[in-house]
């Protein structure tokens, strides 16, 4: 099923016509292509979370229109019409371990598929498969989720979303609070999953390295407005613009900029990932040897 996402001049206002009125999204028009790995970046309060809650109809736009696959969401859309959409869009919220509640890990993972119409047996089978997918050991499955470590709880929660077998996977800072090894494992797992199942992934993150390493499309939000949209190359091409908007370069890019300043060498294109940086330096060194 093809599930493109199109936002058409979407506005969202919290608590309209009260003294607490707050415009969280302003005239957002953007398209997220099917099968893309889209990163959403921006500061705290830039509207990322609000944007994300529009992706499965938790919030409906105050004005404008969102098209996700066949579903059109307008301010008038009824809650009941959104159940179908939620089957196809899985959202992993920030600190998703807060959503665990079942007696056993297995039951908790099977919760969503059961809600979406799978029977006990099918749901349990999917749950086992997803537990393996996120790297949970077999002996943990019958334990209470509250006995696990923080990192394991995170994996259970993520498996619980993957068990919905969504076509669109939305990740809100899925690695916040994990150690570096866990973080890398998790990001690699999402990448593998995306390639295997041809998912559309939308990643909200503060880690520019993750943007450079995994995303092929970037959306930049500031104060509820869309201020840039394009490939990571395009977004990170102008370090000055980034500084103006208080955004950072990935570590490799930052290193490259400093390297250029100190040595006077020029990179052909600004490297954004470690491997890109390494290969460009190798090229440079070999070139230098030949010239010398």
């Amino acid at each position: 099923m093809v599930m493109g996402i199109i936002f058409k001049t979407v506005n969202y206002t919290y608590q309209p016509s009260t003294p607490f009125e707050q415009k969280a999204l302003k005239n957002i028009s953007v398209e997220i292509p099917t099968g893309s790995y889209t990163a959403v970046i921006g500061h705290t309060g830039s509207g990322k979370s609000t944007f994300l809650q529009h992706l499965n109809g938790l919030l409906r736009p105050s004005s404008g229109e969102i098209v996700i696959g066949k579903q059109i969401i307008t301010p008038e859309t009824k809650n009941k019409e959104l159940g179908e959409l939620r089957k196809h869009v899985g959202i992993v919220f920030q600190f998703p371990e807060a959503q665990l509640f079942e007696e056993t890990v297995l039951k908790d993972i099977a919760f969503a598929p059961k809600n979406f119409g799978k029977n006990e047996e099918e749901a349990t089978a999917i749950a086992r498969q997803m537990a393996r997918q996120v790297g949970l050991k077999e002996e943990l499955l019958l334990k209470s989720p509250f006995e696990l470590s923080g990192g394991q709880m995170r994996r259970v929660a993520i498996a619980g979303i993957l068990a919905m077998e969504p076509e669109i996977l939305v990740l809100d800072e899925p690695t916040a609070g994990l150690d570096p090894k866990g973080r890398l494992e998790m990001m690699e797992m999402f990448k593998e999953l995306k390639e295997k199942q041809n998912l559309t992934v939308i990643l909200v993150t503060h880690q520019m390295d993750d943007v450079a390493n995994y995303a092929d499309n970037v959306i930049v939000l500031e104060n509820g407005r869309l201020i840039a949209n394009g490939s990571p190359k395009k977004i990170f091409a102008q370090p000055k613009w980034l500084i103006e908007h208080h955004l950072a370069l990935p570590k490799a890019g930052e290193f490259a900029v400093n390297f250029e300043k100190k040595t006077g060498y020029k990179f052909e294109t600004l490297p954004l990932t470690e491997s890109d940086l390494a290969s460009q330096i190798v090229k440079m060194v070999h070139g230098g040897v030949q010239n010398g």
Binding site: Y14, Q15, P19, F20, Q53, N56, L58, N79, K80, G83, R86, K87, V89, G90, I91, F93, P96, A98, Q99, L100, F101, F111, A112, N115, F116, F146, G160, I161, M164
Partner: protein
């Protein structure tokens, strides 16, 4: 969420906002007590004038007060109907079994309605113009004399402050968990009663777990910063009793005296 008005403070700089929370609290209680002295048209008119004047002085949009009445409207209507049909006296217009519709019944019903509206308006005014923590502070100050008879005033007020402080936090948390479970296919507020009860479990369990965790964190944080009970603690928010508070109290005492004259004895 966001529809809960109780205890919703609207910042402002009006005379009522700037009054000491202690005087506002005392006056609200005082007003609620003297409402029960009113027993004829003139006295209710007086109390309405006082309430409207107070609301106008606070410069808060009137719609907030109407919204404050709305959640209690069924309770009010029930009480009013009870008064109308079960109190007797005066001309009887209609009678059926235990129900009578009499002149006094109708008058009483209207009085009860006015009483409810006045109480709700005044207490809404208190909570709209006073931050919850200030109310807690005022309560602590006003309860101080009870310390003599070994009432744990500090502890009560600490509990109250913490409870108030965590209302918005818990509401945020609830919204978050509801969103997460909705995304996992839970439909809150839909289906028959059994389904609705079942839908609450995935919300309540995480809320309990996080509240307990939060309580433990809070206790650790307080101990780490040297909290050892309320004895000898100084206050961050200091109360000043100003002219306007004395004036406010005088105004209500005057109202009270007038009320004593115009009420029916």
């Amino acid at each position: 969420m966001g529809k809960v008005l109780l205890g919703r403070y609207i910042p402002g700089s009006s005379l009522v906002h700037r009054m000491d929370s202690r005087s506002k609290l005392i006056l609200s209680f005082f007003f609620i007590v003297i409402i029960f002295l009113a027993n004829n048209w003139e006295s209710y008119l007086l109390l309405f004038i006082v309430t409207i004047t107070s609301i106008l002085t606070a410069r808060v949009n009137f719609s907030f007060f109407i919204k404050g009445v709305r959640p209690l409207i069924w309770l009010i209507l029930f009480t009013v109907l009870l008064q109308i049909f079960f109190s007797s006296g005066g001309t009887v217009f209609w009678k059926w079994g235990p129900f009578t519709l009499s002149y006094y019944g109708i008058v009483n019903g209207i009085y009860v309605f006015c009483r409810f509206v006045l109480i709700i308006f005044m207490s809404t005014l208190l909570t709209l113009t006073t931050a919850p923590l200030e109310i807690a502070d005022a309560l602590e100050k006003l309860m101080m004399p009870l310390k003599r008879i070994k009432v744990p005033v500090y502890e009560i007020s600490l509990m109250l402050s913490i409870a108030l402080r965590f209302v918005p936090t818990l509401m945020d948390e609830t919204t978050k968990i509801m969103n997460a479970q909705r995304s996992r296919g839970v439909n809150f507020g839909e289906g028959n009663i059994m389904q609705q009860i079942k839908a609450v479990v995935p919300l309540l369990v995480p809320l309990f777990v996080s509240s307990f965790n939060r309580a433990e964190d809070l206790a650790t944080a307080m101990e780490a910063r040297g909290y050892h009970g309320g004895e000898g603690r100084t206050k961050y928010r200091v109360h000043y009793w100003e002219i306007r508070d004395t004036l406010g109290c005088t105004f209500f005492v005057v109202v009270f005296i007038i009320l004593l004259f115009i009420r029916q004895w």
